[in-house]
């Protein structure tokens, strides 16, 4: 699975990043790079079995603190 995911990410490096560098779109490249690396790190961590915290957990807690028990 790790290899499969890496291949998918590598595919997008070739199809997207190379044209950005050739066209010297540095700002887009920076934004692209930050999001891309974040996604890849999350993918690696998930593949290594690290339990990442769900972003919806604090939202659920916030809603419960405002409207009470929602169940």
């Amino acid at each position: 699975m790790f290899l499969f995911c890496t291949l998918v990410y590598a595919f997008f490096v070739f199809t997207d990043v190379v044209p950005l560098v050739q066209n010297k779109k540095w700002k887009v490249l920076a934004v692209y790079g930050v999001i891309f690396i974040t996604a890849y790190v999350f993918t690696v961590l998930t593949e290594l079995g690290v339990q990442l915290p769900s972003p919806l957990t604090p939202i659920g807690d916030l809603v419960a603190s405002i409207v009470g028990s929602t169940g």
């Binding site: 692209y32 999350f42 919806l56 405002i66």
Partner: protein, 365 residues
């Protein structure tokens, strides 16, 4: 800037398929028991004023999407903060829908398959579609919409052999409180989720009528959802509908015409696959357009791939399991979505009307 405009009918078809999205697989309003049909009708009526508000906002600012409108109305700082909120909403909704898709695939078809495989397959197609733009999505939706409606109609007709009209009686038995709570759920999921269309559609003065798009798209979607929900109720009954995770799928598994026509539940999967694809694509497109507008990148298509990949991996850890998914969807989501679907659009609408009046007065004087 590339102005992407699609005709009314295509936009309406996209909206209808967006509404069908995960609704047709998770089911809606089943907490009201046999009054689910009543809940869907009331929710449809309740969402109408908000659809009018969404359409009015787009009509007041032709050729602008919500992100641009927020910048125009509230200035660069507050506008960007509000844009950030909508980017998050679109992104989180996309991840939630994709997780619905993944759970469905894993539970009914491929329990041993790693969860990232169906997510990756679906996600890559969505990335491709969003890169092609709303025009391609519009044309595709207009074509596939007819196909899906035919499938749904045929399957409902075949289900009628197992239907029992007594499952709908007595009316209003679940009580006023349960009906209102379920109405609130159906209002937020899926009716008012159409708020995201404000972020992806730009209205052309000549070609587009935003009121037609919103009302026609939601009306057709509402009819489809109503028909499927009533079918589920008639075939399964209120108790069973409430106790299974994918009621439409279970309802279709029962079909057996003369021991010959059976095992046609793949049709449910096809409908969900196609409509879920549209919903995820719209969410992804909305998030990318928001980021593009927020950071001034000069085109959202350049960042579709990394945002799509981030959405796909977020899908893996957004819920721990299907119980958590179901709990969030039916107990928390309505409250979470309320500010995005009601509070902020109303605030934007008031600000837009004030600005329009001032502009009118200034031009008259």
């Amino acid at each position: 800037m590339n102005k992407e405009v699609i005709p009314n009918r295509q936009a309406g078809a996209v909206m209808t398929m967006f509404l069908m999205g995960s609704t047709l697989i998770l089911g809606v309003g089943f907490r009201a028991g046999q009054d689910v049909w009543l809940v869907i009708i009331i929710a449809g009526a309740a969402v109408a004023p908000f659809l009018a508000i969404y359409a009015r906002i787009l009509a007041l600012f032709p050729e602008q999407n919500l992100y641009q409108i927020l910048n125009t109305l509230f200035g660069p700082v507050a506008g960007r903060v509000l844009s950030l909120l909508y980017i998050w909403y679109a992104f989180s909704l996309g991840a939630m829908v994709m997780r619905n898709f993944q759970e469905f695939i894993n539970i009914v078809s491929f329990p041993e398959t790693p969860i990232f495989v169906p997510i990756m397959m679906m996600g890559l197609v969505c990335i491709w579609a969003v890169k092609e733009g709303i025009e391609v999505l519009g044309r595709w939706s207009q074509l596939m919409f007819i196909f899906l409606v035919v499938i749904i109609a045929v399957v409902i007709a075949l289900s009628m052999e197992d239907a029992d009209i007594d499952n709908m009686r007595p009316v209003a038995y679940s009580g006023f409180g349960a009906i209102m709570r379920s109405t609130f759920n159906v209002f937020s999921f899926p009716m008012a989720e159409t708020v995201l269309f404000m972020t992806v559609l730009r209205m052309d003065r000549e070609r587009n009528n935003p009121h037609y798009i919103f009302f026609m798209g939601v009306l057709i979607g509402l009819i489809v959802i109503l028909m499927v929900s009533v079918r589920n109720l008639l075939v399964l009954g209120a108790d069973l509908t409430e106790n299974v995770y994918f009621p439409p799928y279970v309802a279709v598994t029962i079909i057996n015409i003369g021991n010959f026509l059976q095992r046609i539940e793949v049709t449910v999967s096809v409908v969900f696959l196609f409509s879920g694809f549209v919903k995820i694509s719209i969410c992804l497109m909305s998030a990318c357009m928001g980021i593009d507008n927020l950071l001034g990148l000069g085109g959202y298509r350049q960042i579709v791939a990394p945002v799509g990949l981030l959405l796909m991996i977020t899908t893996c850890f957004i819920y721990k399991n299907i119980m958590e998914m179901s709990d969030f969807a039916f107990n928390v989501y309505s409250y979470y979505a309320f500010p995005f679907q009601v509070v902020l659009p109303v605030a934007v609408w008031i600000a837009a009307e004030v600005r329009a009046r001032r502009a009118l007065n200034a031009s008259e004087s």
